[in-house]
Amino acid sequence: MPRRGMLFAVLALLVVALLVSFGCAKKKVTPTQELPPPPVQTTPAEEIEEPEVQPEEVPEPVQEETPEEKVAAQIQDVFFAFDDYSLTEKARNVLANNAKVLAENPSVKILIEGHCDERGTVEYNLALGEKRALSAKNYLVNYGLDPGRTSIISYGKEHPFDPGHNEEAWAKNRRAHFVIKK
């Protein structure tokens, strides 16, 4: 403690001494002439700009979608009730659209597969599946489709789309499935 006190005292003295000497020195200076400040030499700044990235779509070489691809993209399957091959209103709407797509692509030939759910015997379902495929085909033909462009086949219950054993699966499996013929 006494040491630190001493230190402070010395420092204080030094400060006082400095202030006194500075004040004395200032009084001694006599200004002669005010010189203008030297001109500031500034290097011009480089302008750096981030270029705008603007990719532009290059048009692909024109590749015509084949009629088969067009039909495949738009044609839809139709579904049936249990042990039934009559067309629901929804099925008729789907078929009307299928007929339109096929009319726009007259070179495309289609195979309509008839399918059934797993209930019922193998043979009866073969006949039922064919009735479903035929229902779909007849609707298209009545819409003006050339009958020579469509063929039908029944797989009965042998090629289910959904292997499940519930109504959800069965509903998917009772269908007329459209296949584009190559």
Partner: protein, 439 residues
């Protein structure tokens, strides 16, 4: 309703047979507890067959063959449903016969004796049937065969025993054709009636369906999609190159060889709708039998060849009908149930087995040919379908999805004693062969 009543009847019958057997065989049942496990059919006749260990000549290999032969014969006799089969682990036939004779009851009792030996690289089996009461030898058979043919020889011997004791040849030498998806494609396969020796006989690499045996047992007709249309093909019972029976546009399905073998009934959609036709087995003389805008399918011949049962939805739902083989006199047989299909006429002509929809499952039924007294034979989950009779009319083979995928099962014609015959892949559409050499 009938489904609820059936188990009770079965229980009553089992109880009755149990009481009878207790009364009749009170002196021996205590010694052979396995007897009552084997007998489950209410039709079982009271013939008791003892099967002691089969003997073998000194050469060691023969013993193995004797055991295998005995196991097959025992299984055949049990499956026949005629007998109480009692296996005895001794080989000394003469002292066993003496012992059994001492306590013989009112039941007919017989004993099978067998002996295998090796001769020039082949197996020789000598089998005898002894009547216990009289100690008389009532049958004596001798077979020579290679190792590969052992099963066939054993089945032959079993059938001779059944013929000797019942007057009608057994069915142990018959086969079952069916469709199997085990190879990936659905192909025609044939196995022994007990599910052994399964062989794929087609290589269509496509979808095959509905095999049906020619009445001489040499050929199988079936539907094949291998040319892009469900055509009717025919193949030899042991495979070979298939021929085409019919290839009309649309379905060529559900073939049914007439009992005489001179006609094949089938379903065609060539006229725009599923109708039943007849043709000669070479495809000639096609003749249409049904004329109705509804589905007509799945013909099954009466054993007299004069009528056909078939499925039609002309009444609004699939039901079973009968017509004369010229297409006349169509009448409906089933009125109960919303979906009855897959008729199979019994070999005695008196009954028709079929599949009927109960809720979301299918069950096997049997009715008389007037459509009366339908009796439900199966009661499992999944679909029980496609019943076909054994040639002796005592058993029914069918497909069932009770285990998940479809598999082939057999049961007695009263629904008892269900046995599973296939275990891997999707197996369905069974068809029971005639007895070999039977027209």
């Amino acid at each position: 309703m009938s489904s609820r009543r059936r188990p009770k009847i079965t229980i009553l019958l089992s109880l009755a047979s149990l009481i009878c057997s207790l009364l009749l065989f009170a002196d021996v049942t205590a010694q052979e507890p396995e007897v009552h496990l084997e007998i489950r059919t209410s039709e079982a006749r009271s013939v008791k067959i003892y099967v002691p260990k089969f003997d073998a000549s000194d050469s060691e290999g023969a013993g193995v063959f004797a055991d295998r032969f005995k196991n097959i014969v025992t299984s055949d006799l049990e499956r026949s449903g005629f007998f109480e089969v009692v296996t005895v682990p001794v080989a000394d036939v003469s002292s066993l016969l003496q012992e059994l004779k001492g306590k013989v009851g009112s039941t007919e009792e017989v004993l099978v004796e067998g002996k295998a030996s090796l001769e020039g690289g082949k197996i020789v089996f000598e089998g005898r049937l002894h009547e216990v009461a009289s100690l008389k030898t009532i049958m004596n058979k001798r077979y020579r065969f290679s190792d590969r043919a052992l099963r066939r020889a054993a089945h032959r011997f079993s059938d001779e025993i059944v013929l000797q004791l019942t007057g009608e040849r057994g069915i142990a030498s018959t086969s079952i054709a069916f469709i199997s998806a085990q190879s990936g494609a659905k192909e025609v396969c044939v196995m022994d009636y007990d599910g052994q020796r399964k062989k794929q006989i087609t290589m269509e690499k496509s979808l095959c369906l509905s095999p049906d045996w020619s009445p001489d047992g040499l050929k199988i007709a079936y539907t094949s999609y291998s040319r892009g249309n469900p055509d009717l093909h025919v193949v030899g019972r042991y495979g070979g190159k298939p021929g085409t029976l019919s290839a009309y546009r649309g379905l060529n399905s559900s073939p049914a060889w007439s009992p005489s073998g001179r006609k094949i009934a089938l379903t065609l959609t060539r006229d725009g709708n599923a109708e039943i036709y007849l043709m000669n087995p070479d495809g000639s003389e096609l003749r249409r039998l049904t004329r109705h805008p509804a589905i007509d399918s799945s013909p099954s011949w009466a054993p007299n060849g004069r009528q056909l049962a078939f499925t039609s939805d002309r009444g609004g739902s699939p039901q079973i009908y009968v017509m004369e083989s010229d297409g006349s006199n169509v009448r409906r047989l089933t009125f109960k149930g919303s979906y009855n299909d897959s008729p199979a006429w019994s070999p005695d002509g008196g009954r028709i087995a079929y599949a009927s929809r109960i809720g979301n499952s299918f069950q096997i039924f049997v009715m008389d040919i007037a459509g009366m007294t339908p009796v439900q034979l199966t009661d499992s989950r999944g679909n029980n379908e496609n019943p076909e009779w054994s040639p002796d009319g005592r058993q029914i083979v069918f497909s069932s999805s009770r285990g998940g995928e479809r598999d082939i099962y057999v049961m007695n014609a009263d629904g008892t004693n269900v046995r599973r015959l296939t275990h891997a892949g999707d197996n369905f559409n069974p068809s029971w062969s005639p007895r070999p050499g039977e027209e």
